[in-house]
Symmetry: C4
Subunit: 180 residues, 4 copies
């Protein structure tokens, strides 16, 4: 059944895999982004930039048609993943991002993601709002997520969390022999 | 104790491993199916077909005898696994599959899998119904699963979920050095 | 700090690692045992013998002294691990083993392991009883396990479960390219 | 995007990755430390020293400024990680360490780490106290941890636990073929 591709841990090319849900007004896809490492003078490596869970929201433009060109990104940090993973059935949470934080463009674009329980307890509403003061635009994406879909997110986010922190690399280092 | 076989992640042959339960009227075996990847023009890879958890039900035909020739398949998607993993002790769920969906044979065979709690809270009933309008057949498989067996399923399904989504491949890609 | 030993997944020698608790009347150590595979005519492999979690109980023979020569084994199956992993704070469970089951010596030695909650809710009692009708002996090992120690067991057993089922090998197989 | 660094499981250099929280009076960083193995006469390996989760506390010395030179370490054992992982929302726990235990300096330095729920149920307080009878010093570090940050710790500590026990090495050993 087809040609073998590179073995686990030996890819020289990128692998793309996402989890997507398509709903009435918008679609949402999620995929993990690995951390980046920098080399120290000692030859050792340290995490230079923590990974994240990248969310893409894009709007419905017709029956089962969605416009990928109009997508908006929202990158979840490890602590924001921790917030989602530990969310109780009646809990809600909200995250605020400024893509230009600490630059001269700070405050021009503001993004917020809120996660609120559905009224009948059957899942959560994910709402992304993107306010762009330059373009005078205010976009809003609403994606209801079922309990089953949220269970996929919770389980997959829990799997991904140690990876985007770089801890899977730390624990897979060569063990050393204490005899010498 | 025997000859070594290929190392983890380096198999050129297939590995078969299932978890099976044998009950009075039928048996049920489960095994994970990996996703398939396609190569992009860039040389990168993307998930072409998500993996699944394959369930096989086959009927008892005597005391501790089961007829594998009469087995029926049911492939659980990531979201259906999410539903099972998050099932509360008194919850139930049901999935409907049409093996010929989107083809000219759509509707000829209908499969449904229901998971319902046992009356005494000691586990769940898994019921598979397969209605074949062509053959005029209506098969039904009933397998009670204990709380301990369901805990194996929940734990092993949670382990498998990121793999059938392809996320274990994404997170095991080579990290890159940001210095260059 | 010492000489490197073989990389993960490339050992030609065995690795020993256990989790042990030492209590007033007995000690208990636990370590995972991998499954065994057999080669099919096709060149593929299947799980021939499921792995297990091996428990060793051995008695105290003085202040902080334990006699390893008098140890008794109890091998937990995947379903028995499922039972332990899903044990509620007030639940108990009991497993019965006959090391000579299905042989002519069946019934000569009977082992039972019971796990019962401590009266103050601070953990569990693990009791192993080994009755040997040949030697006319009746041994009993009692090991109280704290909530924290049981959390280590629950977490580590959950990690080990897919491995002793062989599912980590299935999911680490080479993905294939669907283009061909 | 940069130069590839060594593949997973093949590092000859060290990898550093921690999870850190910076609060008003002190900062806290955490990173896993792998176990050490010793070689047996048989050529096999056994865990010689269990790994740990290393906590570093260091004090604030101004607005968002922290003094790393004044840091104090606290190494969590597998059972202490089990205690943290299983902590209920209203539970608390406390660990006592003597860095010179079993040496002639025993009792000169005493460290204690307590974890107590915040009054409003929004997380936990981590308090480290280090009393040094030689230097006549008594240091105290207080770090409030939000529910989301504690969820990161719980998830990442659960991932790390089998690794610091050495069980990931045991389960990644070569499977053997039972035919021979």
């Amino acid at each position: 059944a087809g040609q073998d591709i590179a073995t686990k841990g030996n890819y020289s090319n990128k692998i793309f895999a996402d989890f997507s849900v398509f709903k009435g007004k918008a679609a949402l896809s999620m995929s993990p982004v690995s951390p980046r490492f920098s080399k120290l003078n000692s030859g050792d490596f340290k995490v230079d930039k923590t990974g994240c869970m990248m969310l893409n929201f894009w709007p419905a433009v017709g029956q089962r048609k969605y416009d990928w060109q109009k997508r908006q990104l929202f990158a979840l940090s490890p602590t924001e993943l921790g917030s989602l993973i530990s969310l109780g059935p009646n809990d809600s949470c909200e995250f605020f991002h400024d893509p230009s934080m600490k630059s001269s463009n700070a405050g021009q674009v503001r993004k917020s993601l809120s996660v609120t329980p559905l009224a009948d307890g059957s899942g959560y509403f994910l709402n992304l709002t993107v306010v762009n003061n330059n373009l005078k635009t205010n976009e809003r994406f609403s994606v209801p997520v079922t309990k089953a879909e949220f269970a996929v997110m919770r389980t997959a986010f829990s799997f991904v969390l140690p990876h985007i922190m770089g801890w899977d690399r730390v624990t897979s280092q060569l063990p050393t022999n204490t005899d010498q």
